[in-house]
Amino acid sequence: MNELPQQLVNGLLLGSMYGLVAIGYTMVYGIVQLINFAHGEIFMTGGFGALTVWLILPGGTTMWVALPLMIIGAIIVATTIAVGAERFAYRPLRGGPRLAPLITAIGLSLALQQAVWAWYPGAKSSRTFPEIPGGPFHIGDVTIQTGDIFLLIAAPISMAVLGYFVMKTRTGRGMQATAQDPDTAKLMGINTDRIIVVAFALGAAFAAIGAVAYGLKYGEVQFRMGFLLGLKAFTAAVLGGIGNIYGAMIGGLVLGVAETMAAAYVSEIPGMQQLGGQSWANAWAFVLLILVLLFRPQGLLGERVADRA
């Protein structure tokens, strides 16, 4: 059996999830130059939001009915927390030293993790997430799970909707203007405060969709799921060029595929057995990041160099 097509699909699926989360990092950075380290946890709360909806729904509800409701639940929870964080944690610090909101973001990330750990029933260990019934699909050598289908459909649609929103709508163009020059945008009558809230909310909504995909794919959600995934998504955002929404998606896909390929094939290179295998996937992901940053500091599709934290 030829493994390559399956490994490619594995990588693309993982990468799509990174991409969905990376959008939130990149949008917020593009507009307020803040690396929102709490974004991974906003992703996590989205997962728990979806789980809560599932638990409230009467038992025996089919996934066709439950899934849209769960997505809505996830989006509501994640955007509420993101907008709340913006309003109460980041806005008071706007205009202050750049380091202050960054540290706040890290603190918020820990606080959200611990809050879910402490107060969500049964969240002290993994909670099982409902799965879409139905067997896996086979296309040649490639097996695709039902849970992955959601990701395959959701990621491109999300991307298209976001592209349309940013390019074609008034608010979207306002976002572009604010990203280019917030002061001038304000002078031109754009309510930049509102634009920033929209950026946080949109990022959270995509993270929430990513979280539902995570739950469906792995069959569980847990309070720490946002930490490593957030870090990877942030890497994807930097890889693709932070500030660029298409860069986030491309960065995610490149990272996902590179990681999977490294895990699958590095150990087969003579003399590299020790550095192969899934446990080294993260190391290779960061090697890739370093290489890209060395030769293309602005990232793959980058707009500007991330010179400010």
Binding site: E3, L14, T143, G219, Q222, R224, A264, G277
Partner: protein
């Protein structure tokens, strides 16, 4: 004005803090006198009480608590009241070491039960040994902890005098699983995976050695990062290797999702692991796909041992929220071995506990000769501090629960 109010607030806070500390110390004294002039002996507990492995850790804590309560109820050691002090190590070696330092600093601590993870134990051993404080682990299975790093090369040397355990080591557990799989389950091609931690890598290595010695083939090997949940690249490799069984050295938080992903990808082969996956949480995490998976665990099934009936009943009666899980019986026995040792020290000293520093090293000496009928059978330690009980059991995930398949002792 602003300045003044700030001062006022600071003063109020300081006063409040002082009052609180005062309350604290008064409470402590109250507790002591309530025990009727008894000396308080604290049994430290170190286990992951939060995080992925908390199911096992809380089982350990509750079981030690039960042992302490029963010793107090029976007035097992005259003039001594046992208390437990449970610290959370989150399965992290660094936290474990901090906890060890904390426990050493508390003069009333005469013995510690824990930790769960072999990697955490490594970071704690020296701290305890320096302070001559006895440590009895209910769950560490890495052989090097008690037999030195060269245990496999034939030169066994006990590195730390203060370290004991009630669980069997991987030197026995891995080969036991290999023999069962090769001889009885008739599996010949195995894919070996571990999580690179002390426990997982050691277990996988001992398993692999025995399996190849018996004539089995290793179809492939990989290491995973237990922090991630995406094992798709490994799963694809397993599928194309055509292995008929997967052996996983590691714990259930990764093993559960791994098993599920293997089966969902279309490789209908069982995943086999050690006591680290023998948990109800493995069943939850692997879902219905995990049916047929196997786990070895130390000792005979607790529920079937006559000696354990009382423990199971008392545990139920005490109304703990969490189940006692895989290590409950071993934790109870570990705690009880410390209680026995304290009793011996007190008896030898004319019914009184010696000074703390003295008492600690005397407890270690007493532990060496402890021997009693515990929950898991006879509890005694050999010259390395390992349990003399070499019983193991293979369990299978059947119909939503672990069912014992075969019990036995491993012989060479």
């Amino acid at each position: 004005m602003r300045q003044r109010s700030l001062i006022a607030i600071t003063a109020a806070l300081a006063a409040g803090a002082l009052t609180l500390t005062a309350c604290g110390s008064r409470d402590d004294k109250g507790g002591d006198s309530a025990a009727g002039g008894d000396t308080t002996v604290v049994i430290g507990v170190d286990a992951p009480l939060t995080g992925d492995l908390s199911a096992l850790g809380l089982g350990i804590k509750n079981s030690v608590d039960l042992a302490a309560k029963q010793a107090n109820e029976k007035k097992y050691v005259k003039g001594v009241t046992f208390k437990i002090e449970a610290l959370d190590d989150q399965a992290q070696p660094s936290s474990g070491q901090q906890n060890a330092t904390k426990l050493v600093a508390d003069k009333n601590v005469l013995g510690v039960v824990g930790p769960l993870n072999s990697s955490v134990a490594e970071s704690m051993q020296k701290v305890f040994d320096d302070a001559k404080l006895a440590q009895v682990s209910p769950a560490n299975t890495a052989p090097a902890l008690s037999q030195g790093p060269d245990w496999n090369g034939g030169t066994k040397k006990r590195p730390f005098n203060s370290y004991f355990r009630t669980s069997t080591t991987d030197a026995i557990q891995g080969p036991f699983a290999a023999q069962y799989l090769f001889n009885e389950a008739k599996k010949t091609k195995v894919f070996v995976i571990d999580d690179k931690k002390t426990y997982g890598a050691g277990l996988a290595a001992t398993f692999k050695a025995e399996f190849t010695k018996l004539g089995g083939k290793v179809a492939g090997e990989d290491h995973v990062d237990p922090e991630t949940k995406d094992f798709s690249s490994v799963v694809t490799k397993i599928k194309s290797s055509k292995a008929d069984v997967v052996y996983y050295g590691g714990e259930y938080p990764a093993a559960g999702p791994l098993s599920k992903q293997i089966k969902k990808a279309g490789a209908k082969i069982p995943l086999v692991g050690g006591d680290g996956i023998y948990s109800a949480d493995f069943i939850k995490l692997s879902g219905k796909e995990g049916e047929g998976d196997l786990a070895t665990s130390v000792g005979a099934p607790i529920e079937t041992l006559p000696s354990a009936k009382e423990f199971v009943e008392n545990y139920k009666k005490a109304g703990y929220k969490e189940a006692f899980e895989a290590y409950g019986g071993y934790s109870y026995d570990a705690a009880w071995s410390i209680i026995e040792a304290v009793k011996k020290v007190v008896d030898d000293n004319g019914g009184k506990l010696p000074e703390s520093k003295d008492a600690r090293s005397k407890v270690i000496d007493a532990l060496k000769s402890v021997s009693f009928e515990g929950v898991t059978g006879k509890v005694a330690f050999d010259e390395y501090g390992d349990t003399t009980n070499k019983q193991l059991t293979v369990y299978q995930y059947k119909g939503g629960a672990w069912a014992p398949v075969k019990s036995g002792t491993f012989s060479g």
